[in-house]
């Protein structure tokens, strides 16, 4: 069914062909959050992976910085429809963090300072697909963009890249996180346009 909006010409932007369906390019870095921006001090910051045995693998800020740090250049896609190409980050690969973790569970619930949660399959975090990122565009990550550190999972819609990340809890099932309970898709593949549940 073709619904044409009379008199709408649009202002075509460049390179829309390279974007997932329904996205448009932006040069800005818009902010989507459900509440106020939490302020987290790196002196108190920690990242924790908790498994089914109750084991807690814990990294302080300094311990994280001592791990191998990668430079990451990726396109990012927000469910609110902006995409940004070739964004540059520095961070630690989840592969590095999971080297020390034994788990038989297939899902994780990421938890953030401030209470935000989001769910992901473990396989979407491994094999070079996800990082704990703390620098964006050669500067420390700004609080409104998730600083001091956020999860970076660029192949999924950006709400999966939990800001102010605090830790991951291993799960048997794919339990919905915050936006997933509030109408957004359980998985969130931008190329399949999995925006809403």
């Amino acid at each position: 069914m073709a619904v044409i909006s009379r008199g709408f010409g649009g202002r075509r932007r460049r390179a829309e062909e390279d974007l997932p369906p329904g996205q448009y390019l932006t040069e800005d870095f818009p902010v989507l959050s459900a509440g106020p921006t939490p302020v987290v001090d790196t002196a108190e910051w920690e990242f924790v992976i908790q498994t089914e045995t109750g084991a807690r693998h814990r990294w302080s800020w300094d311990e994280l910085q001592a791990l191998p740090i990668e430079e990451i250049t990726k396109d990012i896609h927000c469910v609110t429809r902006w995409s940004k190409l070739e964004t540059t980050w520095r961070g630690v690969s989840l592969d590095t963090l999971f080297e020390q973790v034994e788990t038989a569970y297939d899902y994780v619930l990421a938890h953030s300072y401030g209470g935000y949660t989001t769910n992901l399959p473990l396989e979407d975090l491994l094999d070079g697909k996800a990082w704990i990122a703390f620098e964006y565009d050669d500067s420390p990550l700004a609080p409104e963009h998730g600083g001091p550190a956020r999860l970076l999972v660029p192949h999924l819609y950006f709400w999966k890249s939990a800001k102010w990340v605090h830790g991951l809890v291993m799960q048997t099932d794919d339990e919905p996180g915050f936006w997933e309970q509030n109408g957004y898709h359980l998985y969130g593949d931008p190329w399949l346009e999995q925006r809403y549940s």
Binding site: S5, G7, N182
Partner: protein
């Protein structure tokens, strides 16, 4: 809820020199909660499409859905909606969307609304939902606009009954208005909004910079961040 449906513009009305109310006729619309938004899609003759989100100003049954759109200069979609679209035109919508930034008539606790510019739209829907449901939840609104001429839904807000409404202006205030034009700051929030309380819910909506500043200010005044719900419209 996730499929696109055709909508026809039923009517439009000027709200301010830069903003317009657009009422859409959406066959099969199942109603919406106050605070929800929809996605709106425009298609050009050659198939080019653009999609933006708009909050829903209306609540209640029926298939008429009202939006309030303020023009972003140099924008792609909002100038079309504010200056070009007219009754009978067709577009597509998907929604209602969002389950967090909502107020339900069953929520009895006090509510503080803080709007910046067109951020009034979902908050006006909450005031409408409160009125149509005969809720007695205490409601207070702090509305920051550029000038008195930039207030959306002004006549309706003037008749909002026992909702306590405070205006603040950033560029020009009416003659004799005590507060000088400026952006809302922490002192304004302390003086013009409800104090922190366990059962209070705060809804903050407007351009991203406005929401960041207001939400930070509220948290510094002692509000529980989990009770401050925000909707960022974009921009600086």
């Amino acid at each position: 809820m996730t499929t696109w449906r055709a909508a026809t513009v039923a009517s439009t009305a000027r709200l301010t020199s830069t903003a317009r109310s657009i009422v859409l006729d959406v066959p099969g619309w199942q109603g919406n909660l106050a605070g929800q938004h929809l996605d709106l899609r425009l298609t050009a003759e050659d198939g080019y499409q653009a999609v933006r989100s708009y909050s829903i100003a209306s609540v209640g049954p029926g298939q008429l859905v009202e939006l309030g759109v303020d023009k972003v200069v140099d924008g792609e979609v909002s100038p079309y909606l504010v200056d070009e679209v007219r009754a009978g035109d067709q577009l597509e919508i998907r929604g209602p969307l969002g389950g967090w930034f909502v107020w339900r008539p069953a929520d009895v606790g006090p509510v503080q609304l803080v709007a910046g510019g067109s951020g009034i739209v979902p908050l006006a829907a909450m005031i409408r939902a409160r009125r149509t449901s005969s809720s007695v939840a205490p409601f207070r609104l702090l509305y920051s606009a550029r000038t008195p001429d930039d207030v959306l839904f002004a006549p309706e807000l003037d008749n909002a009954g026992d909702v306590e409404i405070t205006f603040a202006y950033t560029r020009r205030a009416p003659d004799g208005f005590a507060r000088k034009p400026k952006r809302l700051d922490r002192t304004d929030l302390a003086e013009l909004t409800l104090p922190p309380a366990d059962d209070l819910t705060v809804f903050v909506c407007g351009p991203t910079g406005f929401v960041e500043a207001v939400a930070d200010g509220l948290v510094s005044l002692g509000h529980d961040p989990a009770r401050v719900k925000t909707e960022r419209f974009g921009g600086a």
